[in-house]
């Protein structure tokens, strides 16, 4: 069924997005509240390049590179701030990036958005059907999962956790905490860019409305619900959250309720989050050996 395929594509893309945030928030303890900015950078870079005639591969690589470079440039001043301060600085970056996209009309067409983004074409094969696109995005999601698994299971990943859990101790052990944080942030940003590229070529139309704070919050919830600091957590979180949100569409309710249904659905969603945090704050999957309640 096409709707399921569509939701599967969304889940695949959001899994990549969530996996990338998990590197920062779950493994390194960086509260990035502007993650959507890198999603947007990837999406716009690739969309603008391919719309001006570049092949998909170029758009993809440029999107990843642009997101990674912006991540690096942001991390240098922002990582001098700690905890919530870092969070609100990244949140500010996300908002400012959205403003750039809405105001620099000469480049991005502003709120009009970019229509007609071409479907990906790799070696002459065009991914223009739902199953093909699902295959592509699932492949990308698996690749992301594999790379990030390799990263976080390596000594580098253990160092990240050490930095997260006790920065001072990690420093004494001779690990330069700031450098690890920057690396983690660049990795996270790059993969968020990948999610953005896939999103742009999937919907074929992007506008600033795609890249609001709401998206950051959604992906944050996916990570926390699924289980931060675990590998399968973000993927499970993406499946659970997106299917939960869509499942409400299928409750057959009397039409005069529709006005109340929207807010009611959101109320249930909010309440579920609260309940989840109170009774199972570590998410669906619990991090092994992780520290809680510090």
């Amino acid at each position: 069924m096409d709707l399921l395929l569509h939701l599967a594509v969304v889940v695949a893309i959001y899994s990549i997005f969530a996996l990338s945030l998990n590197v920062e928030i779950g493994y390194t303890g960086l509260f990035n509240f502007g993650h959507v900015a890198f999603f947007a950078i990837g999406a716009y870079t690739s969309a603008l390049l391919t719309l001006s005639g570049a092949p998909f591969a170029v758009g993809l690589l440029a999107g990843l590179a642009a997101a990674g470079v912006c991540g690096y440039l942001l991390s240098i001043p922002a990582l001098k701030l700690q905890g919530d301060y870092f969070g609100i600085a990244t949140l500010g970056f996300g908002e400012i990036l959205r403003m750039v996209v809405s105001n620099e009309v000469w480049l991005t067409k502003g709120p009009m958005g970019l229509p007609g983004i071409p479907r990906p074409e790799i070696l002459g094969f065009i991914f223009d059907t739902l199953p093909a696109y699902l295959a592509l995005s699932a492949c990308m999601a698996l690749t992301t999962f594999a790379i990030l698994a390799f990263v976080v299971l390596s000594p580098f990943g253990r160092a990240l956790k050490a930095v997260r859990d006790d920065e001072t101790a990690a420093e004494i052990l001779g690990k330069n905490a700031l450098r690890f944080k920057i690396k983690s942030f660049v990795i996270g940003s790059t993969f968020a860019g990948l999610a953005g590229v896939l999103w742009a070529h999937y919907t074929t139309f992007i506008s600033p409305g795609d890249f609001t704070l709401t998206e950051t919050i959604l992906v944050l919830l996916i990570v926390v619900m699924g289980g931060k600091g675990t590998l399968p957590g973000p993927v499970l979180g993406a499946v659970a959250l997106i299917f939960f949100q869509e499942s409400v569409r299928f409750l057959r309710l009397p039409p005069e309720w529709t006005r109340l249904l929207g807010p009611l659905q959101q109320m249930v969603f909010g309440l579920l989050l609260v309940v989840l945090m109170v009774f199972r704050p570590e998410g669906i999957i619990r991090e092994r050996g992780g520290r809680h309640g510090d």
Binding site: P77, A78, I88, E95, Q266, M277
Partner: protein
């Protein structure tokens, strides 16, 4: 409009916006200081405060404005306490991310509850619009004068409470170190309760003033909350004067900024200023350390 009063009027606009941010930031910084987390649902206290007033002014109560304000403030205070009892008390020792997500969930719940009861449409208290009175070439309306006066009054009252009363002393002790305060025999429960009530009442006052000046909508709290966060952080966590100054600074900067840069970037100004100030302040900076 001649040039000087043009800039003065802009500065006044900045002060008005800044007072609103400051009222929001004071409530935020209080909870942040005492319980050490960002109450993302503070925006909903702001909005519910304004809607409670709307409730008491409309049917079946039909109270006039001045009579409807006390019950509205009281009810918002209760809402703040209820938030703590139902959500934040069970999470008192949880980590920050858990608290943040729980607060976000609460925010979504409360915002949509308001939309459920009152609908998404923008509402007004239905007071007559009036042109401002002219002082030295500046225009100022009654609600605007109220914004400035009430902000000053709130700062004064909270100052007295915080620094001149036993309750305030215990709240400050909590703010410094929750564990230590508990051990040293301070009634932490009472102090936390008081912090919630004050924070919620401040939110309601801010919300009502904002709604008197503009309109009511379910999103009125959340859209100003991020600026209040920035003001809180500029001022330093738990610092009431800092919240006031941070709010005023952001309000002034973004209004004066609109005159010189593309107005589409107005909302970015607050963040840029915040990051610059934070980076210039040594004690929040980590990295290379001399010790």
């Amino acid at each position: 409009m001649d040039s000087i009063s043009y800039y003065l009027q802009t500065a006044l606009n900045g002060i008005l916006a800044g007072c609103i941010y400051a009222l929001f930031a004071m409530g935020l910084t209080l909870i942040y200081g005492v319980l050490n987390f960002v109450n993302f649902a503070h925006g909903e206290l702001i909005m519910w405060g304004a809607y409670f007033l709307f409730l008491f002014m409309g049917e079946p109560f039909g109270l006039p404005l001045y009579a409807a304000i006390p019950p509205a403030l009281a009810l918002t205070g209760c809402l703040g306490v209820a938030m703590d009892f139902s959500v934040f008390r069970p999470l008192r020792w949880a980590n920050r991310l858990t608290l943040l997500i729980a607060a976000m969930g609460l925010s979504v719940f409360l915002r949509n509850a308001a939309q459920f009861f009152w609908g998404a449409e923008v509402r007004t208290y239905g007071l007559e619009v009036s042109a401002g009175t002219r002082f030295f070439g500046l225009y100022l309306t009654m609600p605007q004068m109220a914004i400035i006066l009430v902000t000053l009054l709130c700062v004064g009252a909270v100052y007295l409470l915080f620094f001149r009363s036993r309750l305030g002393k215990s709240m400050r002790a909590l703010s410094d170190n929750l564990d230590l305060a508990r051990i040293s025999g301070i009634d932490t429960k009472r102090a936390i309760l008081a912090a919630w009530v004050i924070s919620a009442v401040l939110a309601a006052i801010g919300g009502i003033l904002l709604a008197l000046d503009t309109n009511l909508s379910p999103e009125m709290g959340i859209i100003n909350l991020i600026k209040a966060f920035a003001a809180t952080l500029i001022g330093g966590v738990g610092n009431l004067w800092g919240a006031l100054l941070g709010g005023l600074l952001i309000g002034l900067a973004e209004n004066l900024g609109v005159l010189f840069i593309s107005p589409g970037y107005k909302d970015g100004i607050a963040f840029v200023i915040m990051v610059i100030i934070l980076l210039a302040r040594p004690y929040v900076i980590v990295g290379e350390r001399s010790d």
